[in-house]
C-alpha cells in the first residue's frame, strides 16, 4: 500500500480539526495561540502536498509566506499576552471580558 496525496490531505484535515478543537475548548490564552499555530501548520502540509502533485513550486512560496506571517503573529500575540497578564493577573479567556464579548 503506497502513500498517496489523499493520505497527506486527510492527515492535514485531522491536524486542523485538533487545532480548531483546542482553540474552542481551552481556557489558557497561550495554549489557544499554540493551537492556532497547529492549524497553520496543517494548512502548510496541504499546500506542500498539492505542490508536489502538481509539480509547481508556488505552494512552497506560499508556505514560506505563511511561516513568516505566523512568526509575526506569534510575536504580536505574545506581546499581548504579557501585557494582559501584567494588567489582569490572569490568562483565563473566560475572565477577560473587557471587550464585552
Amino acid at each position: 500500500m503506497t502513500v498517496t496525496i489523499e493520505h497527506y490531505l486527510v492527515l492535514s484535515a485531522i491536524l486542523f480539526i485538533i487545532g480548531a478543537y483546542g482553540v474552542i475548548v481551552r481556557k489558557n490564552l497561550i495554549i489557544v495561540l499554540m493551537s492556532l499555530e497547529l492549524m497553520l501548520n496543517a494548512s502548510n502540509l496541504a499546500f506542500v502536498a498539492f505542490s508536489n502533485v502538481l509539480g509547481d513550486l508556488t505552494g512552497h512560496i506560499f508556505v514560506i509566506m505563511s511561516i513568516t506571517v505566523a512568526a509575526a503573529e506569534v510575536a504580536v500575540g505574545l506581546a499581548f499576552v504579557v501585557t494582559i497578564y501584567t494588567h489582569h493577573e490572569t490568562l483565563n479567556i473566560d475572565v477577560l471580558r473587557m471587550l464585552k464579548g
Binding site: 502540509l45 508536489n52 513550486l57 514560506i64 511561516i67 505566523a70 490572569t90 490568562l91
Partner: protein
C-alpha cells in the same frame, strides 16, 4: 519504506497535537507542539520540500517555540482555574464530533468534485524543492511579495515594541 516513515510520523504528529490540546501543563503542551512540528518537517522531506522542512525546523520549531517557552517561563502561571477547560466533557465531545462531521463532509464533496488524484508522491528531478529551486522561483516570479514580507516584519516589530511598552492606567 516511505510508507512506514509516513505512518510513523503521521502518528507522532497526531499524538503530539492531541497532547497539545489536552495536557494541563503549558510547558508540556509547548514541547508536544515541537514534536508535531518536527514530524511535519519529516513529512515535508517525504514530499520533496527540503527547503520548507529546513525553514520549519529553524523558524517554527526553533524560534517560535523558544518564544512560547520563554513566555510561559516568564509569566510563571499559577492560576488554578486555567487547569480546567472552558466546557464540560460532553460538550467537548460534541464539538469534536461536529468538527469531524463538517470536515468529513467537505473531504467527501472535495474528493467527489475534483478528478481523483490517486497520485503517489512524485519524485521530481533535483532542483524541485531544494534551496536552488525555491530560491529561483522566489527571487524571480515572487520578488515583490518577498520584499513586502520585510514591511510586514517591520510593522510587527514596531507593534510589539509599542504594545509591550504600553502601561494601562
Amino acid at each position: 519504506m516511505e510508507t512506514i516513515i509516513f505512518y510513523v510520523f503521521a502518528a507522532t504528529s497526531v499524538i503530539g497535537s492531541l497532547v497539545l490540546v489536552s495536557h494541563k501543563n503549558p510547558v508540556a503542551s509547548a514541547l508536544s507542539l515541537v514534536l508535531t512540528l518536527f514530524s511535519t518537517a519529516v513529512l515535508f522531506i517525504l514530499l520533496l520540500a527540503h527547503f520548507i522542512a529546513l525553514i520549519q525546523v529553524l523558524v517554527y520549531a526553533g524560534a517560535i517555540m523558544v518564544l512560547f517557552l520563554f513566555t510561559v517561563m516568564f509569566l510563571n502561571l499559577r492560576d488554578e482555574s486555567l487547569r480546567f477547560d472552558a466546557v464540560k466533557v460532553p460538550v467537548k465531545l460534541g464539538i469534536l464530533s461536529l468538527l469531524l462531521l463538517i470536515s468529513g463532509y467537505f473531504i467527501f464533496i472535495g474528493f467527489k468534485k475534483i478528478p481523483p488524484l490517486n497520485t503517489m508522491v512524485i519524485s521530481h528531478p533535483e532542483p524541485f524543492g531544494t534551496v536552488e529551486g525555491v530560491g529561483e522561483v522566489l527571487f524571480s516570479d515572487y520578488l515583490l511579495p518577498f520584499e513586502l514580507t520585510s514591511v510586514l516584519i517591520v510593522v510587527a516589530i514596531l507593534g510589539v515594541v509599542v504594545i509591550a511598552k504600553r502601561r494601562f492606567d
